[in-house]
Each structure stands twice: as structure tokens, then as C-alpha cells.
């Protein structure tokens, strides 16, 4: 028996052995990486639903995946299933339908959508003003039984767990726009506790529908520069005016390093550290001093057993909202200091939009592919620098670089700040 591998804090090392990804740019690692490093945008005019009377008419929807009935939970589930299948395939772990570990999955908060409400209203036969009493009366017929399961918060996780045979009680979670990173953090913690030897960590979001888009629009969070669509998402630019909604999913197979070694798995990289901090300042804005963001970045680097000097590249949250990019830059400058002006940072969201619940997981996959290939995807649409943001944003064109450690940031409404550090080798 060899001595178990441990990190500097004496904890099991967390290896990544499988990656899967679906975005508006395509399905799978190869297509996505080619597009992301080719500077291609997946943002387009919405043709899934009518856009009359909307201020924003573009999104990075995934239109090549069918879901029935078409709604956020059904599409989110299908996206997750495809990403998971790819990740488990790469990891070559367990048997088909028998994944030897836990499931942590970030899913969008679901609720019944307008086509279903309308169907219930029509089934009720209500004449005149329709109320919820009519919908409930229609529900009593028993004809809509499958929609109960469809719109429960725990259903996507349950179905993914059943399909892939994960063990134990699957955890569905939401930490808004940092959800994907939180799913990874939960997996890391479970492995470090020695509770599981493997964890399947997933983020998925297929929730671009009229009401979800309008909700963000009413908060003035979305870009309204609809034409041309591919130029709308402009992280770190002076003329940035909000994010573009996106869809997608990503899955990571995390494993106790010794478990991966023992079964001869190919190790793609390591999750070295996680940092997390709540913000009590405001429901949608960060503390003006950036203290919670700074604390989350610092904690992730500390947790990895590193110092800020060890970070070679930052996969930005980079939403392209005026607020986020300013605060993210401020936070990074505070932790990495003067050196940050020379550390490359880029935002995948310039190409795939903000994939919301999935973003942290999708950007983790991109971070690990950067570690594997030594290639930095660009921040596209960078034409007008913001003098207040003195960062090397890898403007417009991908770049080769020697990268051994990546910081990936995720920040969300409700004061959610989650940062992850990935490495090619243990710290």
C-alpha cells in the first residue's frame, strides 16, 4: 500500500478525470474548444419565441437539442444528460448506468411556463376572466399528472441520477450565477471529507423563455445592442451594456486522486482550491469596496495552498454588465496587485453569453482545457477599452501561453461569490 496523496492541508487531492460540455457553439469538447479559441460567437437572434415588444431580441440559445414538452426543465435535463455522458465517457469510470459516486447538480429554478398555464386555462373551459381557481379545477381532472413531476425542483437531478446511476441523495442547488461553481465546490468537499471517491458535478441551464428574459430585462441586466447579435456581449469594454442570456451545460468527473491513479485513469487536472463569501450589501449589487469578492478570491487561493503570484490566468466571470466587470477587476487588482495588469484574463461569455446556472461549470471546463492545451480563449468584441479596467483581456484573438494554474470566478445575485483554482499539477 502506497502512502495516500494529500494536499498541503492533509486532505485528499481532487483530480478531474472527465469533462463534458454543450453550449450554443455546439456539443462536445472538440467543437466547443475550436469555436471558443476561434473567437466565434454563439449569440444570435431569438427565433424560439416572438420577440415583439422586447428590448432584447438576442440570446445564445441551444437550438440543436430537442426537448419535449419544450420547457426549461426538459431542455436543462437534456443538456445535462449530454454533458454528463461525454464527461463519464472521457473518465471511463464505473459501468454504464453505474457511476460510483455522488451527484451535485446546479439547475435553474423552474416553474410552470405559459404554454402549460394556457393549456390548463383552456382545459378548464372557463368563460370570461380566468383565475387560478380555474387552472386548479382543470388540474383536478388528472390529465396533467406528468406536469407535476416536470415542474418539481428536484426532478432534473433525480432523472440524471437515475440515468447514470449516481449514489446516494443527489443534491440540486442554486446559487444564482455562481451555481455551477458551487456544484464543483460541493463535490470537492465531499471528496476531501472522504465521503465519496468520485463526484459528478454538473451545471445546466436551458431557461431562455419570454418570461425569464423579461425578468432580467426589467432589472436592466441585459444588453440591448441587438444588431449584430455576435457583437453584443462586450466584457471589460467601455461600451459594455449588459449580459446576453445563454444556454448550455457542463459536467466534471471529480475523483480522489488516489482512486483515479489506482484505476489507471488519465488525470486532466486538479481542483486545488475553493473560496466562497456572501455579500450583505444589496440583492443585485456588490459591496462598493469589493470586500466579499476580494475575500472569495483570496480564500480560493489560500485553500489551494498557493499565493496570488501562482495564478497564471483568470477565466473571468466577465458578464459584460457595467457593475460586474468593474468590481471583478477591482477585486483581482486588490488580491493579485500590480502583477494583475500582466496576468491574462478572458471572458467566455463574450462568445457563449451568460449561461447563468451552468456558467461556473462551463467555465471550469474551459479553464481545464486551457490547462491541457496551453491556449487562452479570447475576449471577443473588445474594441473600446475601458480606461478604468487596466487588464490584459486577451482581446479578440486566442493566444498560447504557459499556464499551470487558473482562477475561475463566479458571482451572482443575492451576494453569491464563488472562486475556484484549477491546476495542471498538485500545489
Amino acid at each position: 500500500m502506497t502512502t495516500p496523496h494529500r494536499d498541503r492541508s492533509g486532505r485528499p487531492l481532487v483530480a478531474v478525470t472527465g469533462l463534458g460540455i454543450v453550449t450554443s457553439l455546439g456539443e462536445g469538447r472538440d467543437d466547443n474548444w475550436a469555436a471558443l479559441t476561434g473567437g466565434r460567437s454563439g449569440i444570435h437572434r431569438i427565433d424560439r419565441f416572438a420577440t415583439d415588444n422586447l428590448r432584447t431580441t438576442i440570446a445564445a440559445t441551444v437550438d440543436f437539442v430537442a426537448a419535449e414538452p419544450f420547457c426549461a426543465p426538459a431542455l436543462s435535463q437534456e443538456l445535462a444528460v449530454r454533458a454528463v455522458a461525454e464527461a463519464i465517457g472521457q473518465a471511463a469510470i464505473g459501468q454504464a448506468g453505474d457511476f460510483p459516486g455522488a451527484l451535485f447538480i446546479a439547475v435553474p429554478p423552474v416553474e410552470m411556463e405559459w404554454p402549460q398555464r394556457l393549456a390548463l386555462a383552456q382545459a378548464s373551459g372557463a368563460a370570461g376572466d380566468v383565475t387560478y381557481a380555474d387552472l386548479i379545477a382543470a388540474a383536478r381532472s388528472g390529465r396533467f399528472k406528468t406536469w407535476h413531476d416536470l415542474f418539481l425542483f428536484g426532478s432534473v437531478a433525480d432523472h440524471v441520477a437515475e440515468r447514470f446511476g449516481t449514489k446516494g441523495s443527489p443534491v440540486s442547488l442554486s446559487t444564482a450565477c455562481s451555481s455551477g461553481a458551487t456544484a464543483i465546490q460541493l463535490g470537492v468537499e465531499a471528496i476531501r471529507r472522504g465521503e465519496v471517491e468520485a463526484a459528478l458535478c454538473v451545471g445546466t441551464d436551458g431557461s431562455v423563455n419570454p418570461e425569464s428574459l423579461i425578468r432580467f430585462s426589467l432589472l436592466s441586466a441585459l444588453s440591448t445592442q441587438n444588431d449584430p447579435p455576435g457583437a453584443a456581449s462586450k466584457p471589460f469594454s467601455k461600451n459594455r451594456d449588459g449580459f446576453v442570456m445563454g444556454e448550455g451545460a457542463a459536467a466534471l468527473v471529480l475523483e480522489d486522486y488516489d482512486h483515479a491513479l489506482a484505476r489507471g485513469a488519465t488525470v486532466l487536472g486538479f481542483v486545488l482550491g475553493c473560496g466562497e463569501r456572501g455579500d450583505s450589501f444589496h440583492r443585485t449589487r456588490s459591496s462598493p469596496d469589493g470586500a466579499p469578492i476580494i475575500a472569495a478570491i483570496r480564500e480560493a487561493i489560500d485553500d489551494a495552498g498557493l499565493t496570488p503570484d501562482a495564478i497564471d490566468y483568470v477565466n473571468a466571470h466577465g458578464t459584460a454588465t457595467p457593475e460586474n466587470d468593474k468590481m471583478e477587476s477591482l477585486g483581482l487588482m486588490a488580491v493579485l496587485g500590480e502583477r494583475m495588469s500582466g496576468v491574462p484574463i478572458s471572458s467566455n461569455k463574450s462568445m457563449i453569453g451568460h449561461t447563468l446556472t451552468a456558467a461556473g461549470a462551463i467555465e471550469a471546463v474551459a479553464s481545464l482545457m486551457t490547462l491541457q492545451t496551453g491556449r487562452l480563449p479570447p475576449t471577443i468584441n473588445f474594441q473600446v477599452p475601458d480606461p478604468a479596467i487596466a487588464l490584459d483581456v486577451v482581446p479578440n484573438v486566442a493566444r498560447d501561453a504557459s499556464v499551470t494554474r487558473v482562477l475561475s470566478n463566479s458571482f451572482g445575485f443575492g451576494g453569491q461569490n464563488t472562486c475556484l483554482v484549477f491546476g495542471a499539477e498538485p500545489a
Binding site: N53, E111, G128, E162, S169, R283, G412
Partner: protein, 380 residues
């Protein structure tokens, strides 16, 4: 790594019976549940008692930013922090971790009704829907119904800012929130956690979801154990429950008073089939109560009243804990979905602290999926 002991040091509980632990512990001795059968007739629910919100949510501006489920949760979270002696302890609250079991939703029912009335006759349904939503939705409604914004509001109102995580998934979210918080404390991945959930049953969209599945009890109030013979089903209950969980060493160091020790939490999600709940509970029982003495104990069951699973749970408990008194929290406060397991645990811990029992086991069998058990012991 040696496992650290986990203490429950604060309880916040709000329901149709009232607020605070005393009312709820007294209810274990017998109570007439509060049931409203009129507001949403023919459906019944257990409505939350009126609360003086300003006692836990001082700013009116904060109250306005929240829908009822969030307010219930923030209120109960405040009670729990006060009970643990941590209210306004900025330094500790700044490091405290938050795990919330949440649903979400809450809608503008008038706007929804107007849209559904107008859609069938609109010239262009898509354009009509967009126009109405753009003009009629309150911008802040989104935040008042977003799942992770209960946690966000607890951060804002009470200053809990270590890390905040929101679990979703109906009853099992409540089980997993407690399970993972306890596991993190035991393994040294955090010292102090605020864990719980909230539920507003007084919502037609909630009734709609569960009516579609045929899960609502449609008759006069009856004990959950007596419902399966008459079609079964649950009566939704409004309320919230939060617990402060602390590592015994850090709680002891600050001189905190332990209400109970959380010995074990276990959870599973089995494929439901006849017998699966019985088998699942037996497995979980073995995990949480290895060789546990069964005298002077009680079981607080989260049984729903849903056909099949309720009889199986009753049978399993009768076999696993022969002669031990079983209380159904659903008979007292109704079914609070995500908040039901935290509420059962809160009530059990309060009863232990009041000297009612020496130990207690809390169960959760989700109405459609998920099973969980927790075991707590009195600290004397």
C-alpha cells in the same frame, strides 16, 4: 480525521401554530391544528400565524423586497440566531455558513389571470404576452421569488456572510441541507452553520402543482396516518424553521448552551416501488442509530399522508422502534415541503431541551422522492 461533535445551539420556528419553541413543544401534548378550508376551497391549508415582521426584519424597505416565503424564512432565521445568542454578533455572523432549502416562485396572480384571459383572443399571442409581461410585471418580483434570494435576504437582514448555498428539490432539499452542514462541521469544513427552510402554502400556484399530481388531501382534517384509506394526500402548511448547528468545541468555547447533539443524518433516494420506502428507512435507521437505546425516545415523522409511502413508513417505524411514541409533524403544522425536515428537527431539539425526551429520531419521506433520517440526543 476525527469527527467533531455537532450541537444544535439555536432554533427558530414559525408555523400555523405560532412562533417560537414553547408553543410547538406544548403542541406535542395535544393541539387542535389550525386549518383554513375556505380561502382556497375546496383545498385546505395550515396558514402561518400573523407575525410582527419588524421584530426580525426592521427595515420596511427589506420587507417590501420579499414575498411571503422569504419573509417567513428571514423571520425564523432571526429567531434561531437570537436563540443561539449570535444575533448582531457581527464577527461570528460574518464567518457563519448558510445552507437554505428553498423552493421559489410566488407570482402576480392578477397579472397571470389577465394574461390568460387575453391570450386566446389576442391577434398575436407572442407579442401580447411580451407586452403584458414587460408592462405588468414588477421588476422586483423576480428577486422576491428567486430560489437563492431567501439566503440572499438572510445575508442582507442578519449579516450572515460566510458562504451561502441554496439546495432545491422539495422535501429532500431540507434533508440534504442538514446532512451536508453536519458533515462539513464534523470534518472541519466550517464551524457554525445556519440551516433551514421556509414555505408559503397560501399560494394558488403551489396548490396547482400538487393538484396536478393528485397529492392534496381533499377531505376534512384527519391525521396523516388515517388518510391513505381515503385517497391520501397532504395539507400544505406555511412556516419556516432554522437551526444553528455548531461544532461542539467552538460552541463550548463561546459558552453556548447546547439544545441537543446532532448524532447523525442520513439520506437516500430510492426508486419508488412497493416496499422501497420500508427498505430505505431500515437502511437509514441502521446508519443513524447503531445499537441505540430506544427507551425515553420519540420519533418525529414528516409523513405526508400520501397513499403507500405513509403506510410503509408507519410499518417500518413500528418494527424498527417498537413501542416508541411517534408524532407526525404533518398533524401539527401541515406539510412544509423543503422546510418540513428542518421543522421536525427543530421541534425535536426543542422538546429535548425542554426535557420531554432523551433522544429523538426525525424522519422524512418525500411525497414523491427522497428519504431522510436524523438522530439527536439530549445533552445533560
Amino acid at each position: 480525521m476525527s469527527k467533531r461533535e455537532v450541537w444544535i445551539t439555536g432554533i427558530g420556528l414559525v408555523s400555523s401554530l405560532g412562533e417560537g419553541t414553547e408553543t410547538h413543544v406544548a403542541a406535542l401534548g395535544g393541539v387542535t391544528p389550525s386549518v383554513d378550508g375556505e380561502r382556497f376551497a375546496p383545498h385546505r391549508l395550515h396558514p402561518a400565524v400573523p407575525l410582527a415582521w419588524e421584530q426580525q426584519i426592521p427595515k420596511k424597505a427589506d420587507q417590501r423586497q420579499m414575498e411571503a416565503w422569504q419573509k417567513l424564512g428571514v423571520y425564523a432565521a432571526g429567531l434561531a440566531l437570537a436563540d443561539a445568542g449570535l444575533k448582531d454578533d457581527k464577527e461570528r455572523l460574518g464567518r457563519m455558513e448558510l445552507v437554505v432549502a428553498a423552493g421559489g416562485g410566488e407570482r402576480d396572480y392578477v397579472v397571470d389571470g389577465q394574461i390568460l384571459t387575453g391570450l386566446p383572443t389576442a391577434n398575436d399571442a407572442g407579442a401580447f404576452l411580451n407586452e403584458r409581461l414587460m408592462n405588468d410585471l414588477r421588476p422586483t418580483l423576480f428577486l422576491a421569488q428567486l430560489s437563492n434570494l431567501l439566503a440572499g435576504n438572510i445575508s442582507i437582514v442578519h449579516g450572515v456572510t460566510g458562504g451561502t448555498r441554496t439546495f432545491m428539490g422539495e422535501e429532500q432539499a431540507g434533508v440534504d441541507a442538514v446532512r451536508i452542514a453536519a458533515a462539513r462541521i464534523a470534518a472541519g469544513q466550517g464551524d457554525t452553520f445556519l440551516v433551514g427552510g421556509a414555505y408559503n402554502a397560501e399560494r394558488p400556484d403551489i396548490l396547482l402543482i400538487y393538484e396536478m399530481g393528485g397529492f392534496l388531501w381533499a377531505h376534512d382534517f384527519a391525521s396523516v396516518w388515517d388518510r391513505p384509506g381515503h385517497g391520501g394526500g397532504f395539507i400544505p402548511g406555511s412556516g419556516a424553521a432554522f437551526l444553528v448547528l455548531e461544532a461542539a468545541d467552538t460552541a463550548g468555547a463561546r459558552g453556548a448552551r447546547p439544545l441537543a447533539r446532532l448524532d447523525a443524518v442520513a439520506a437516500d433516494l430510492t426508486r419508488r416501488a412497493p416496499g422501497s420506502v420500508d427498505r430505505s428507512l431500515a437502511r437509514l435507521w441502521a446508519q443513524v442509530s447503531p445499537g441505540a437505546p430506544r427507551s425515553k425516545g420519540a420519533i418525529l415523522s414528516g409523513a405526508t399522508g400520501v397513499v403507500g409511502i405513509t403506510e410503509e413508513e408507519r410499518g417500518a417505524l413500528a418494527r424498527l422502534a417498537q413501542g416508541v411514541r411517534v408524532y407526525a409533524t404533518g398533524d401539527l403544522i401541515g406539510h412544509m415541503l423543503e422546510a418540513q425536515f428542518p421543522a421536525g428537527l427543530a421541534l425535536a431539539a426543542a422538546a429535548l431541551a425542554a426535557g420531554s425526551f432523551e433522544e429523538a429520531t426525525v424522519t422524512s419521506v418525500g411525497h414523491t422522492r427522497g428519504e431522510g433520517l436524523a438522530r439527536i440526543t439530549r445533552i445533560t
